[in-house]
Symmetry: C3
């Protein structure tokens, strides 16, 4: 390997490891916000981590990243991706779509698999203790093969139909955060149907029980994970990868301040841990789709916009009585992810995007992009609508089928709030 290929693989592999940690970190975030007793959160994210590696290795990596069939879905039988080459040594070759940087199949697989895993972990925050763990595990398999794979195949796979139209999404404002929100909506709708059928007038509320220790570990791991998430998405170790470290971190820091201050104005309470932490997360989410296209100054501005967006989105979502989203999938990931994608058309600068591998991305409206920027805005908006609708429908269809097969996806027992026993975390069957 040349020096550049060595550095690229080393970088993306390590970034993949950092992202790999984020799945379980999301479980710790749930525990940090909802209380130590939610053992199920942790088992769930450990299972997601393992299932992601297994299912992606067997087939999901292909359905997302193999050369696509008509721009729609990757060829599941593409040799180098099928069980990563199975018993052949092909895993050591460069993967077709990232061969420019010399990324090996193993490198790219770890990186993208970690993304798939953490996306499902985000979806899973609305499963709470309400959805059967067995149903969620089966959902996971469908998720990695189809639901996660479709937006990835369309936008990140260079042979995908949206990619060919010129849609960009740097590290997953839509492919990760927006799509997680859409898939989660598909689940909460089914949960609500079952709750309603059991006689409830409003969805069961899962209360906050902040556990500061786990909340702190969670935000620490997620922030470190984002060091892999965004900078690694350059898919090479070059000057732009280093820039992305800073745009990512600056947006997070500015959003922490912005969200803390907005919450203070709204509630008169200063430095509530939930707003401090959610502010950091909101900054990280919003910068994700354009971290590799913008300047540090723009990252600062984008971060400052996060406070009002998050706080008002949270209030808006909080009004819905038919669902429970205490960890903030919809105001955070769905709203923040989509907002970030749209901002590409305003804040992008071609000088930065070139280093990320998108030399044809036009400058945004704020940097003289003019008509090209407006056209880009239209492409991004169209992609958002199509992906969100598709993911929502397939996710909802999946849980409906599961509900039919398993006599509902929700657990029969109400959550008592008492300490879960070990047995309570797992499922007694038969």
């Amino acid at each position: 390997m040349t020096a550049a290929v060595l550095a690229n693989n080393l970088w993306v592999l390590l970034c993949g490891l950092f992202v790999f940690v984020m799945t379980i970190a999301v479980g710790l975030l749930e525990v940090g916000e909802l209380g130590e007793r939610v053992i199920q959160s942790l088992v769930k994210t450990i299972l997601i981590t393992g299932l992601a590696v297994l299912v992606m290795a067997v087939i999901g990596f292909n359905t997302a990243f193999a050369p696509t069939v008509g721009g729609i879905i990757g060829n599941p039988f593409y040799g180098p991706g099928l069980i990563l080459g199975a018993f052949s040594p092909g895993i050591a070759d460069s993967w077709w779509s990232v061969s420019g940087a010399g990324l090996r199949t193993g490198t790219y697989f770890l990186f993208e698999t970690a993304f798939a895993a953490v996306t499902l972990a985000l979806v899973g925050v609305v499963a709470l203790h309400k959805m059967k763990l067995s149903a969620f595990a089966i959902y996971s398999v469908v998720y990695f093969v189809v639901i996660w794979a479709l937006p990835a195949a369309w936008i990140w796979n260079p042979s995908g139909w949206l990619a060919k139209l010129g849609m960009v999404d740097f590290a997953g404002g839509l492919v990760v955060h927006g799509a997680a929100g859409a898939a989660g909506l598909g689940i909460v709708w089914q949960i609500w149907r079952e709750e309603k059928a059991s006689g409830r007038k409003t969805s069961e509320v899962v209360p906050y029980r902040v556990n500061a220790g786990w909340l702190t570990i969670a935000i620490l791991l997620l922030w470190v994970g984002w060091f892999g998430f965004n900078p690694g998405s350059v898919l090479a170790f070059n000057d732009e990868a280093i820039v992305v470290v800073e745009t990512t971190f600056i947006a997070a820091a500015a959003a922490m301040v912005s969200t803390s201050m907005t919450a203070y104005v709204l509630t008169k309470e200063l430095f509530n841990p939930l707003y401090v932490v959610n502010g950091i997360l909101m900054g990280l989410i919003v910068i994700t789709p354009l971290a590799g296209f913008v300047s540090p100054g723009s990252a600062l501005v984008l971060g400052l916009l996060c406070g009002p967006i998050f706080c008002y989105a949270e209030r808006f979502v909080g009004r819905a009585k038919w669902m429970s989203d205490p960890v903030g999938l919809f105001p955070g990931h769905l709203a923040g992810g989509i907002f970030g994608v749209l901002m590409i058309a305003f804040f992008a600068q071609n000088q930065f995007a070139t280093g990320s591998g998108f030399p044809t991305l036009p400058n945004g409206v704020l940097f003289g992009g003019g008509g090209a920027a407006v056209k880009q805005l239209g492409i991004e908006a169209m992609g958002i609508v199509v992906a969100v609708v598709a993911v929502f429908l397939i996710s909802n269809l999946t849980v409906r089928v599961l509900a039919a097969l398993m006599k509902g996806i929700t657990t029969s027992h109400a959550y008592t709030g008492d300490a879960e026993t070990l047995t309570g975390a797992s499922e007694k069957i038969g």
Copy 2:
């Protein structure tokens, strides 16, 4: 340094850091399985971490990795390893046995010291609260100088007698896991002798008290640590190192599913956290000795075999009334490590082993290895027997001597299960 030497040192140094974390992670695993009150677990693994660095730097690195005296033990007075060159700048040179990859003494020292430390942490899971911390600390010194060093000097040191016979053990199925089990057997036997002398009919059982938070952190850190453990054991950053990331992760994921499903069949309980976590660990253990010799497809098969092996080994070990092994040293590390070493002769593929630095390793039986594979099986089996017996005997001899000097190695007080005070975790003497 050339680009390759830079990458090799950077890779192995970072992998060493990840492995370094695993020692304390084993302490967290104990706490996650046996309850938060076992403060002693944590003090123990912190002490192991520090003692490993100190003792290995002074002498243990030499007894394991300096040019051997007759293939048996490294020369303790080898200059570049004695306090890492003491006051000379020799530490910045390449270590003799890894000079092909240009690994500096400092790089190789950190990597191997982290291995020594985590091996002792595994041994230590059977110390529980039963063995005096002071006795364990003294045992540690002997351990790093002799007990850990011997199998390493025989198998990993290229001048060792087993290495010269052709025995291979990629990242320590025997040198780490099997030997940890053997050393642990030496300890539990002495504990049982003292328990029996005090009138007990069966060994005191230490019950499970799952603490899901610490269990989760532990499995997360151990999985991340194994990213260093196996891929770093290529001792270079090359294509094969990337392959090893995937064989390691795929085996872990497959074993998680396999073990969860086997436990479900046996107990009708789905997703018990202990089986989910132990499944991941079992996959990581079994793949360790051959992660650098096999394909992703073989890693998948090996992972799927883990569930039945672990569950039946656990039942078998659980029948023994004369010892307590709640964290699974014997069914996990001893059985899994030895099984993995034997599988080298079945699953190895020369194409992969060459990248790990073993160009003469024959294909396994399943890949047309024929007579050469059978011969390899014999060598591996012989090495296992010799190393396990030797380590068991020296470990047991060591604790017997300590018992004679310290009026027993076991603590006088029974564990009450009550919250330990700070004082309770340390030892009042005099």
Copy 3:
């Protein structure tokens, strides 16, 4: 980028990430020593992390590292550092003072910002629950712009007046640890003034409540963080960076043993978790200012000296009734940091210092440095006095101004020791 420039940036960026983790790790250390209930510790260190990134990006990086005005303070309007180049792509260029190693502005910014953040976290351990979080947040801004920046501009910025006199401080015995102690003194003095004014005869004591889990996570993260802290301070990935890993780890290990044994002699209690952990920290602190100048043998000797120094400094500080320092800022960081800086003149070896970028540093007294070493001792001592006094005065002035504006910096409520509610951790205002 050439192979060396790739490796240098990759190394320093990753080391920066490891140091970045340390700020929150200090919060976990507080919780590990003082009990889980101190939620405020965690919110504080999360806030510090975010504020460091934001304030340093806007101006603090410049006041510390831009070309100085008369050797005193960096030019706050230096283009490449002002919001890291704001909307220009200059962030991708090498920073002026580290262009020899080709470190990009983004790389160097992350690394140094992480240092600024963790230094303030150390200062913050004396804030305890006594200082208003709002006052601490405002103090943070002043801290990053001026208080942290001055010693950095004088000693680490090559255009600083102390640097030009020949003062060296490898990774921050003075710039980080000593200065943190001096700034903390400025705060505790003001706290005491307010406590006295409210009628107290002695400062409120904050008792130990060891939480072994968090204490363990904290020391683990801090040790891993120091892997970035010292070895990254070579500001390049070369042979010496690898040496620094070992001098750092050996000093920590030796100090763990030395401090545990000293505490045993003084208290007859063996392996008290607090002394085990503080021993590791003391070793890391003492080696910090000279890790890149000394041999592994000298690191071992320095580590062994740590036990007596820490234990006696702790007893000395413990006698002061007018302040509370349970986490050991003064006996650990202030005393240890200054001791380490002075040891440069005794233990430095030019062969090692050259690799760290200080080819003109003379050998220490113990290595034949003679008159040059004595002169170096004088320079270091002078720098210590000037920096400690300056930082103390500015820190104290800052909190006095804040006290005048905010009716005191201390919270009105005494700490009850009861579980803090979420609300208790934040501040109700208006």
